[in-house]
Amino acid sequence: MSVDVVRAGGSCAVLVVSGELDVYTAPRLRECLVELVSEGTLRIVVDLNGVELLDSTGIGVLVGGLKRIRTHEGELALVCAQQQLLKLFEITRVNTIFSVFHTVEAATAAMAQT
């Protein structure tokens, strides 16, 4: 699993995640989210299009990140166009708490309006 942070101007960042997001690798994403929020990045887009596996621990980290950022009145959106992950978001009802976009462009555009 790797996480690349791309600054998108202002208090916005895109996190490009690739590989497998599981009980072993998810803590690295959590650290990254915590660090961004604590330094004031309050608009975060997590790009999951390069993710090959996402399990409940990974989902837990995303939900935790969302909660954390919302306590600072920020926002976190997901980018995902993969059928397998979209199915997972539906099963777990994660799609009811996150905004999910197919492309980074759509997500950052929506973010800019909040």
């Binding site: 009980v23 072993y24 399990d55 199915k87 777990t92």
Partner: protein
């Protein structure tokens, strides 16, 4: 820990460590993709179920347990495959589990992703048995 496993099973025996869950996934994925007719989607489902089961098995051990291990076994017949994940941790009875809002995602996913899932007490620990209905490969590929 291995007595009740069928004689012709494939067994992976790992230290209960998060870094080894990927090894359990690739083992099951290799067996499933070379030996069974499964769509890419069902293969992903099985891999994810194995991942959840291993995560729970690892988490079943307290921090002070000496040499905690997890067994992942594969067994197949003409109609189905069964993957079992066994720990000797604190034990789990899904009938007694308290439904909560935050947790419970892993167990729920396992139940949805595979055709049949059951949890057996292990005295100590737990074995989760997950099975998928699928025919053998006509010609095995790799």
């Amino acid at each position: 820990m291995r007595d009740s496993l069928p004689a012709d099973a494939v067994v992976l025996d790992i230290v209960a460590d998060p870094s080894l869950v990927s090894t359990a996934r690739v083992m099951v994925s290799c067996l499933a993709s070379t030996r069974r007719e499964l769509s890419a989607e069902r293969l992903d489902d099985l891999e994810l179920a194995v991942s959840e089961a291993c995560t729970n098995a690892i988490n079943s051990y307290g921090p002070d347990v000496d040499a905690p291990r997890v067994l992942v076994s594969w067994k197949e017949d003409d109609d189905r495959v069964e993957v079992r994940v066994t720990d000797r941790g604190r034990g789990y009875d899904p009938a007694q589990a308290i439904p909560s809002n935050s947790g419970g995602l892993g167990v729920k996913l396992i139940q949805i992703l595979v055709d049949e899932a059951c949890w057996e007490p292990g005295n100590p620990g737990t074995t989760v048995r997950m099975s998928l209905k699928c025919p053998r490969c006509r010609v095995e590929q790799d």
